[in-house]
Symmetry: C2
Subunit: 226 residues, 2 copies
């Protein structure tokens, strides 16, 4: 009955802290503030242990205001995920197109994904941990973004196979899932652990090394592989 979600973000242009209290009109700025508050609170306590009033407090708005911009607490999480993943996907698409060949694209993909999280512990935690908590939602509503994401990875692999840069006895879809998992796992343990800035960078570089060699078509003769 209450369809209140009529505010939509025009684009990524989030006019930040313009020193302008300006009008009492609804603003994307307020919506963004709520999302940012949510990241903080969710990261600290997890989705279910987070109180709506805490999010409101972190965002500097009243409890009720949240319901002017979102349908429910669940909707806040979902929107947050949707919003951030969209940004990530957009960045990835642009950056990957710049790379000359599939191996470079693979490396860039890994570096970018982890690089964007580096220095953003809270966001990393929300994405890795809370993504799972809304899995129920994701499954029910079918996470379009998530699938898009996996497909992007799979396409890098399959293009590499076509071009002869990668061995072709491994399924791109399986590789995409495994790579997603590996990135997620690194981000998770990093976010829950020390989370030193720059820590993910080294990990990214190593992961890229592993994958590029792992996907290489050259049959290692020296290895006593059996």
């Amino acid at each position: 009955m209450t369809e209140r979600r009529f505010i939509r973000r025009g684009d990524a242009s989030a006019s930040e802290r313009s020193a302008k209290p300006s009008s009492r009109k609804r603003t994307d700025d307020k919506r963004e503030r709520i999302l940012r508050g949510a990241v903080k609170v969710f990261a600290k306590k997890g989705f279910y242990a987070s109180r709506v009033s805490e999010i409101a407090k972190a965002a500097g708005v009243a409890d009720g205001t949240i319901y002017l911009y979102f349908d429910s607490k669940d909707d806040v999480l979902e929107s947050l995920f949707e919003d951030r993943t969209e940004r990530l996907l957009a960045t990835l698409r642009v950056e990957l197109a710049k790379q000359p060949d599939p191996p470079s694209r693979l490396r860039r993909l890994i570096e970018l994904q982890l690089g964007l999280l580096d220095g953003q512990r809270e966001l990393a935690e929300v994405i890795t941990v809370n993504l799972r908590q809304s899995t129920r939602l994701l499954r029910q509503y079918g996470s379009k973004r998530f699938v898009e994401y996996l497909e992007l990875m799979a396409s890098v692999v399959s293009e590499g196979q076509k071009s002869g840069h990668f061995r072709d006895d491994l399924s791109p879809r399986v590789m995409a899932r495994a790579l997603f998992g590996a990135l997620d796992g690194l981000a998770l343990t990093w976010a829950l652990g020390e989370a030193r800035t720059g820590g993910l960078e080294k990990a990214a570089s190593q992961l890229a090394e592993l994958w590029i060699r792992g996907l290489s078509p050259a049959a290692p003769s020296a290895t006593s592989a059996e």
Copy 2:
């Protein structure tokens, strides 16, 4: 609303317990039944959306009985995780010791972990999804098992490096986290997707292929490694 559930005691459990006339003594059989019920319910609805009464129903016991065996709903999840992970770790340790060299151990580890979940969609889902939901707990109480698990993986890698089977420019700890993530990611997408029995087997084999080549010391071409 005001819909009280009917717990038909003995109903579902009667056939199960037919052989042995149940004594009125506390049994870990009952504890195990609760854990199994919990797996079913958690897998279907997720931890937070699961009701204690649903677990009781699935286990064929009364709501209150759960509190004879566990401290709280959280304790049920924690115990479940603890219990199942312990089993997995024990199996892994035994099996890995049988393998002749690190590459075989790595392959076996991957096959075993995914193989044990194959055909157990519900358990896979609880482990991959709910593990995250209790992350808060895991962090606070320090997950000993989880760390043990990562260390087991890291040790396989570092042994391989010492023996010359694996390249030594990659950190075993990073590799362990990435491998954990890859396995977790495969299990997750499998559990949430079609979950065909045998589906994980193929994935396991491919993942092993990737990792073994990826960790191989032979440089296939002029890779400006590192």
